[in-house]
């Protein structure tokens, strides 16, 4: 048995949608349990008063990275078949900034807004309406920004390609970066907590 299952034809397109649904539910559940259903916790990340988002995200990244790396190393996963989208560097930076602004203003990102909605948060409903409206605006503007949207295409770029390092080295450096970030986050939270007390 080999992964990715879909590309090795273990199931067809229809079944893949059902599996995607199940994984989606699991993903939402993990987000909710991670505390990502609360706009307060999410927004606090941007003010560095609560580093939970950074910790959860980096944990997820490192876990997935190590899992994928070792699974492909023992031959269970064919990494060359895992889809990596192209890099359009400038449009993606601009898009990231717009998403980030929306994240701070609204207190959710698209995924977490649905998580929050499923737990009955009213602000999430308005956030989702905003997301839908934004999608509508984007679709209407698309003909005018299409050229920009597809500009500065760098193709399929990975960190090892970009830095000219081996994959194993990048894995190690990302682990180090995550551990460093965890330590810094814990320290930062203690400092912020003290500041909070002295006020």
């Amino acid at each position: 048995m080999n992964a990715p299952f879909y590309k090795f034809d273990l199931f067809g397109f229809d079944v893949s949608l059902i599996i995607a649904f199940v994984i989606g539910i699991g993903f939402g559940f993990a987000l909710e349990r991670g505390g990502f259903g609360s706009a307060r916790i999410l927004a606090a990340q941007f003010y560095f008063t609560n580093m939970r988002v950074l910790k959860v995200m980096f944990t997820a990244i490192v876990t997935a990275m190590l899992g994928v790396f070792y699974l492909s190393f023992i031959g269970y996963l064919d990494l060359s078949l895992v889809y990596i989208s192209d890099t359009y560097i400038i449009p993606q930076v601009v898009g990231g900034l717009i998403l980030g602004m929306g994240f701070i203003i609204g207190g959710y990102c698209p995924g977490t807004s649905f998580v929050a909605f499923s737990t009955g948060k009213k602000d999430a409903v308005f956030f989702i309406l905003g997301v839908t409206f934004g999608v509508f605006i984007f679709a209407e503007l698309y003909p005018f920004i299409e050229v920009f949207y597809y500009s500065t295409n760098m193709g399929r770029v990975t960190l090892p390609d970009f830095f000219g390092l081996s994959y194993g080295m990048v894995v190690f450096l990302v682990v180090l970066m995550a551990l460093g970030a965890f330590a810094a986050a814990e320290w930062g939270e203690r400092v912020m907590a003290k500041k909070g007390e002295s006020k």
């Binding site: 590309k7 090795f8 190590l66 070792y70 190393f73 031959g75 990494l79 889809y83 994959y167 682990v175």
Partner: protein, 215 residues
């Protein structure tokens, strides 16, 4: 040392595990390595004698005319030969580049070359990389030329043969061929139909709807 590790909090233990796995990863290097494959020799040898994986050109014409999209037709010859002429809808992937080609595993893959031996070599390459449904176009491009583009019939053919030939004439014309009636003893110059190379040949699709992935 043991006590020190036991006394660490759970998250710190996990962090240690991560660090160790990261360190080992440095030694392991590149998981993208596509060069080696584990092959079930028994299964391969059993499969290699099945005739069901050989498709003849007439079947292929039906696939193309019906507009089937559940297969990729792969031309294994070099670029020169491909540019000169290729069977409509084929993409050009020389055998040496097969592994980098991103052929979809959930599509049938139909291989052709000048002859069956070369196609069979590519068949083994793909089979050993776990491609499930790989087929060979019987006698490759030559069969396509002889049977589809320039089908022949002798003047004293039986009525049944003539009926069959009339059908082939229609198919042949569809693909721009010119059927030959009678003994063409003096092999007059037969011109290959011109075929436009599609502007951008998608390497990874054999038609069908493109699937967007990512979040």
């Amino acid at each position: 040392m043991k006590n020190y590790i036991m006394n660490l909090s759970g998250s710190k233990k996990l962090a240690m595990v991560g660090l160790v796995l990261g360190l080992v990863a440095v030694l392991l290097g590149n998981p993208y390595d596509n060069t080696y494959a584990k092959v079930n020799v028994k299964a391969l040898s059993v499969e290699s004698i099945r005739d069901s994986e050989i498709i003849n050109v007439k079947e292929l014409t039906e696939w193309i005319i019906e507009g089937k999209v559940d297969y990729s037709l792969v031309d294994l010859r070099d670029e020169e030969a491909y540019k000169e002429y290729f069977i409509p809808t084929a993409v050009n992937i020389p055998t040496s580049k097969l592994l980098e080609s991103n052929l979809m595993r959930n599509l049938k893959i139909l291989l052709y070359c000048e002859n069956n031996i070369k196609a069979a070599q590519a068949w083994f390459v793909l089979k050993s990389k776990d491609y499930k449904s790989v087929y060979i176009l019987n006698d490759g491009i030559d069969a396509w030329k002889d049977e589809i583009l320039f089908p022949k019939i002798s003047e004293n053919a039986s009525a049944n043969e003539k009926l069959e030939f009339d059908k082939m004439v229609e198919v042949s014309k569809f693909f721009g061929g010119s059927p030959q009636v009678g003994e063409t003893g003096s092999k007059k110059e037969i011109t290959m139909p011109k075929i436009e190379i599609p502007a951008a040949v998608p390497m990874n699709t054999g038609g069908g709807k493109p699937k967007r992935e990512g979040c």
